[in-house]
Amino acid sequence: MKLLVAAIPLLAGAWICFPQQAHSQTVFQLTVKDHHFEPDHITVPAGERFMIELNNQDTTTDEFESYDMKFEKIVVPQGTIKVHAGPLHPGTYTFFDDYHPDEAKGTVTAEEKK
């Protein structure tokens, strides 16, 4: 209980001090069909938050997941979900469908802006 009492003003303070990021993040569109991502590779600017919107055109439920970009979300057949990711250091990151990890996989490359 004490914990809650301590945590609430702290979090509230943090909320005020760190204004929410504007919702102007780039959204990258992806579809998954026959357990393959289309496109299965995207390039994003390094150091920025971004979103991936995934549309599931299969008849199975999938779990859109990435260990190194830290997202994990279920997407039902014909459903569309959005996941947030970044800011990423320059490099290549992988994502996959956790229910069909051998077939459905793809990569994100984060590039330094010129």
Binding site: L3, A7, L10, T61, K73, H84, Y99
Partner: protein, 273 residues
Amino acid sequence: MLGSLIIVFREVMEAGLIVGIVLAATRGIPGRGWWVSGGIGAGVVGAAIVAMFAGELSQAFSGNGQDIFSAVILCIAVLMLSWHVIWMASHGRELAQEMRSVGNEVSEGSRSLFALATVVAVAVLREGMEVVLFLYGIAVSAHTGFMSMLTGGLLGVLGGAALSWALYRGLIIIPLKHLFAVTNVLVSFLAAGMASQAAAILANDDLIPAMGYDIWDTSWLLSDGSMLGRTAKVLIGYTDRPMGIQLLVWVLTLVGLVVVERFVRTRPQSSAS
């Protein structure tokens, strides 16, 4: 078959670690078998219901429904785990000394059991939902190899359950005098880990500030994707690249629990709760 076995085993193991700790932490409290199995049952039923509405849940809260749901049930589990730690601080010693139901202890005990049964239900619900959706997916896509994948899934459930049981058997080797001290530490870390996971989920959706990303990167040492990394995530909330808010919430929860626990434990004995 191996693929589905691994996927299901992973999820069941994650819930099973929590169940194993709860079983050890409630040793000697009368009626705990019923409460724990009730928690598992409620979790399975809940998982099936939530899985049925997975599509609707995704769309709720402008697409953040799944995440908000996860964060809320994690917070409930944190509160229940905290309750248990504090309850144990005042009753653990008597429980260890007597190990039998003494009058009013029974009703007191069942309150802590309710808390832990809720934790079990939440753990089973979270992981179970993924298992249900996965197995349902296999069932509807009637391609060949259906039976072998289903067998794999069922073996995964059995394997996860066996691991949970093994953890419990391993923990209760600890002499009763020390058992509750150990389980209280484990439960405190579970609570801190769950609280920081909830914070990470909300911060990832930009609902709360992240306070910095990638505070460190230990993915070269223990990756979130590895079996050991997953285990560490369940037990202590490990992540290879934490956000600032995760660390803050983790430390606050753990320090808060230690302070309150010590306060309750060193308080002069009184008959009231």
